[in-house]
């Protein structure tokens, strides 16, 4: 399984597409950092967990798209033709899917890391600030559930119809346009601008309200569940 994972990573991450995506991501990241993050959100410092979370929320649509693009490596017509061979192999489909999803997740994690490193460089260059430990929680809370959900839902949709993955790429933009309730604020980034103001103290420490944490946990669980469902569906549709 380790070998499959390594080969899938190689397929996903060692190509012009990944490099192009990384470049686009870095350019967009620089734009966000210099135009928005530098001002700080909700009166907090540009390097506060809130501003950092806001930056990540703005990067999330691109990460989401990147993640789904990785899945197209498994759902494209070309990949489906290769499945004629791989499906006949004795490796349990679940383990195989797990290895592939892990590779896609690694791709997503690498892109996320790239965004975070870019922010870190920005903070050091602009403010000589390097207290990165405080940024870990907002990064995890923002990115992990969303990326796992992208993976799970994208995987499932890819099994149903490959083109649905492309349609699914538009979801973050739709969410950004919708007035979501407070608890779902992490889904469109409004959480990071609204929550610190609601706390009514200056420069509040980062806290994740129970409702928001629950929403993220549900998202994470839903992602995992959809992933499992996608695998089952794969087995069913095959037969």
């Amino acid at each position: 399984m380790g070998k499959i994972f390594r080969y899938e990573c190689r397929r996903l991450l060692w190509n012009k597409f990944f490099i192009g995506l990384a470049v686009v991501l870095l350019l967009y990241g620089a734009l966000v950092l210099h135009a928005v993050t530098i001002l700080g959100v909700a009166h907090t410092a540009p390097f506060s967990p809130w501003s950092f979370g806001d930056y990540l929320s703005r990067m999330l649509p691109l990460l989401w798209i990147g993640m789904l693009f990785f899945l197209t490596f498994y759902t494209s017509p070309k990949a489906r033709r290769a499945a004629a061979l791989t499906d006949a192999a004795p490796m349990p489909p679940r383990r195989y899917a797990l290895a592939r999803c892990a590779a896609a997740l690694t791709g997503g994690a690498l892109l996320s890391l790239l965004c975070m490193v870019e922010a870190a460089v920005f903070y050091v260059r602009m403010f000589g600030w390097c207290g990165w430990g405080s940024l870990l929680l907002p990064a995890l809370a923002t990115l992990l559930p969303a990326l796992v959900f992208a993976l799970g839902s994208g995987w499932l949709l890819g099994q149903i119809r490959p083109w649905l993955v492309y349609v699914w790429m538009a979801v973050p933009f739709l969410l950004a346009a919708l007035p979501l309730p407070e608890a779902l604020g992490l889904w469109n980034g409004s959480f990071f601008t609204a929550c610190p103001l609601a706390l009514e103290t200056l420069d509040p420490a980062f806290v994740l309200p129970v409702a928001a944490a629950a929403a993220q946990a549900v998202l994470l669980a839903a992602g995992a569940a959809l992933l499992a469902w996608g695998n089952r569906l794969r087995n069913i549709t095959k037969k």
Binding site: F17, V24, Y28
Partner: protein, 726 residues
């Protein structure tokens, strides 16, 4: 020529595809995005909202859709492996050319269809200021030309990479660059031209010319790139470079590609619209040029001949100086970038001159050496296409048979280092204009027709007293309004007559002038008792000078005037600009140091008072005081306000940007709030009105005629601390 034979066949095949029709339908519908979602033209003129934005959105969406269609269509043959069959019959190069022609034809058809579909909708939305010429040009330039660009870019990406997925990523990244990183760079944003406003009441020739230039630059560039990619079409089993080497054997092909790219490069470098002014607006080196020793200004005359078809200006200027130094002196003039100076003579003899490459505030420096004679008459000729400084707000130097605005050096070279003579800087300007235009000098001067020429033009003359000067001319209507003991000359575009009359604009002007005169006093400046109010072509705001005030047409649009929530008076910016006649001109402020006390504080406060009187206390509280309070609260909590040390750490560009925005907040929101607090502390509105009346009419110190914060505090018997809002 095989391509031409195959073209109808390919076009028919393309038009039989359902995807083509879907893309065409989406493109035709896409201008609706400009009405609801994507509004790059942020001005509120009717043409900006209902013509520019839909056309821009249609262009951006259409280019993306047609780009994707191009990639899909080019990949279709490869995907279905038909290419193996077709390549055996026709060269893949011919196939590529045929496909491109078919796609471009589909794009042209779609643009035409869009124009037909949106014609009645646009005409209905825009109302009486709709014109066919603006409509056709807007859809042709802002939308139509975007589609071939999208097709060329996407097709080139596919022909280089031969992979649909990679081409889509590259193409989308190219579009995203235009929509994000290049958005402020008028020559680079190929997808979404920098159009911030289209004028309702006057012409838009300048902005259309600029967009056409950008489009043609890119058309040439992308046609060149496409031709290169065409040469890279894989043949004979060779890779990209092998195929390129093979296809380039016919030397005219790479020559065409290089010629197109060279044309584009030349068009990019030699653009005539935007100058190269120093972007650092804190540098004012032209104001630091030492005065020519012993030289004084006697008189200036200029004959200006605008070519309203070409958008250019030709002129002759004559300057009389008194040179008592007994030496040659170097005289500096500011000239508008784009003008070429010739025939410079002093007392009839050619004299040496140089024009600097360095530009600042939309001026280049012309240096002329005048002889060591006491009376010198310097004459020169100038001509050219006047350039602008702000690429994202083009249109300021509109010059057509409907409208023109010539400011300072654009009118005639502006003397920079000669002291005024006894009479100051007397000048006599003559300008020859089409019959329908009337000349309106900005200020107290009055222009008169001195000649009706045989070619249907009229020559106007006016006298003024300044080294520069601004002249507006256009197809205007003038209303004379008696208000506040003055005669207001209200000039507005002929196209707008019905709208202005319906909105009762004349009464509104009267109301504002009456209020200010009654509460603060009569305007003291200007020639006698007249004030010109000139409706300008959309400019993003207005300004005032002695005896004249400029009002942006965007405040008079049909939509704005019909907005009943704002009451009977059109546009509050209108009031704001008019109030600047009192606070800003009638009473001057030293705005140069960036301090919160500036002409804006009292102007915004007075606007609030007028609005309160007109629409009631609740409205004024909601839209003025509450909003100031909100902004000021945010300001005090701002991270950089609380921790200025971090602001200091930032690189200069970022620091200036943030500091500028913070200073704006203080001038426009904190200071009005402080004045409001002062009003409460001094005992209410009446008491404050009395204080302001006294300040307005105080005796001025000619050495420092500015109204200072301390004077205001003293008049209120308050200290700075009293007005702290914290």
């Amino acid at each position: 020529m095989k391509a031409m034979r195959l073209f109808p066949l390919e076009l028919r095949r393309l038009l039989q595809s359902r995807l083509t029709w879907l893309m065409m339908a989406l493109t035709v519908a896409s201008p609706v995005l400009g009405l609801v979602l994507y509004k790059p033209a942020d001005s509120t003129t009717m043409l900006s909202m209902y013509l520019a934005n839909p056309a821009l959105a249609g262009g951006a969406a259409g280019a993306i859709l047609f780009g994707l269609l191009a990639i899909f269509e080019l990949d279709r043959a490869c995907r279905s492996r038909v290419d193996i069959l077709t390549d055996a019959v026709v060269s893949p190069l011919t196939t590529a050319l045929t496909r491109l022609l078919a796609l471009l034809t589909a794009a042209v058809l779609t643009a035409g269809l869009t124009m037909l579909v949106w014609l009645p909708i646009s005409a209905g939305l825009i109302g009486s200021v709709f014109t066919g010429a603006d409509y056709v040009l807007a859809y042709l330039l802002l939308m139509g030309l975007a589609l071939p660009l999208g097709v060329l870019a996407a097709a080139a990406a596919y022909q280089f990479t031969r992979r649909a997925d990679l081409s889509i990523v590259l193409f989308i990244a190219f579009c995203a660059l235009s929509l994000t990183v290049w958005v402020g760079d008028w020559q680079l944003c190929w997808l979404n031209p920098c159009v911030w406003a289209l004028s309702d009441d006057f012409s838009n020739s300048r902005i259309f010319r600029s967009v056409a230039w950008m489009r043609l630059t890119w058309l040439s560039a992308l046609a060149g790139v496409w031709t290169l990619s065409y040469l890279c079409i894989r043949q004979y089993g060779k890779g990209m470079l092998g195929s390129l080497a093979r296809s380039a054997r016919r030397i005219y092909r790479p020559a065409i590609a290089l010629a197109l790219l060279a044309c584009s490069g030349a068009a990019y470098a030699a653009q005539p619209f935007i100058d190269r002014s120093n972007p650092d607006l804190t540098v004012m080196s032209f104001y630091e040029i030492p005065y020519a020793e012993g030289v004084t200004f006697v008189r200036r005359t200029a004959q200006v001949f605008p070519d309203t078809n070409a958008g250019t200006v030709t002129g002759r200027a004559s300057y009389q100086f008194q040179n008592t130094s007994g030496q040659e002196q170097s005289i500096s003039f500011g000239i508008t970038p784009g003008y070429i100076i010739s025939n410079v003579k002093a007392n009839g003899t050619d004299v040496p001159f140089t024009v600097s490459g360095y530009q600042e505030y939309n001026e280049a420096r012309l240096e002329v050496t005048i002889p060591a004679q006491e009376d010198v008459e310097l004459t020169m000729e100038y001509s050219g296409f006047p350039q602008e400084s702000l690429p994202t707000m083009q249109g300021g130097k509109e010059l057509s048979s409907e409208y023109l605005c010539l400011e300072n050096a654009a009118l005639s070279p502006r003397v920079m280092n000669v002291l005024p003579g006894e009479a100051g800087y007397p000048a006599e300007i003559e300008i020859t204009l089409p019959e329908a235009m009337i000349a309106i000098p900005f200020g107290s001067s009055r222009a008169e027709v001195i000649a009706e020429n045989a070619d249907g033009t009229r020559t106007w003359r006016y006298e003024t007293n300044s080294a520069g000067g601004i002249l507006y001319a256009g197809d205007y209507i003038c209303e004379q309004i008696e208000a506040g003991g003055m005669t207001i000359e209200f000039y507005y575009g002929r196209k707008h007559q019905a709208v202005m009359e319906e909105a009762g604009a004349v009464d509104a002007v009267k109301a504002v002038v009456d209020y200010c005169t009654e509460h603060y006093g009569k305007l003291s400046y200007g020639a006698g008792d007249t004030l010109k109010l000139i409706q300008s072509r959309v400019a993003g705001g207005g300004y005032a000078a002695n005896g004249a005030s400029l009002l942006d047409e965007a405040d008079f649009t049909i939509a704005n005037l019909k907005d009943t929530s704002k009451g009977a008076v059109p546009g509050e910016i209108f009031i704001h600009e008019l109030v600047h006649q009192w606070w800003g001109l009638g009473n001057m402020f030293d705005d140069s140091d960036g301090s919160p006390w500036s002409s804006e504080g009292l102007t915004v406060y007075t606007t609030y008072r007028i609005v309160k009187e007109l629409y009631g206390a609740d409205y004024a509280q909601k839209y003025y005081v509450d909003q100031w309070q909100q902004v000021v609260d945010d300001y005090y909590l701002n991270f950089y306000v609380r921790h200025p040390e971090y602001l200091e750490m930032l690189p200069e560009a970022e620091r200036l940007n943030i500091a500028g925005s913070l200073s704006g907040v203080r001038r426009y929101n904190e200071m009005p709030l402080k004045i409001l607090k002062a009003e409460q502390l001094v005992g209410g509105e009446e008491a404050m009105d009395q204080i302001l009346h006294d300040l307005f009419n105080r005796e001025l110190d000619p050495m420092y005629p500015y109204l200072t914060y301390q004077e205001f505090l003293d008049a209120c018997h308050l200290t700075e601390e009293d007005l702290n809002l914290g």
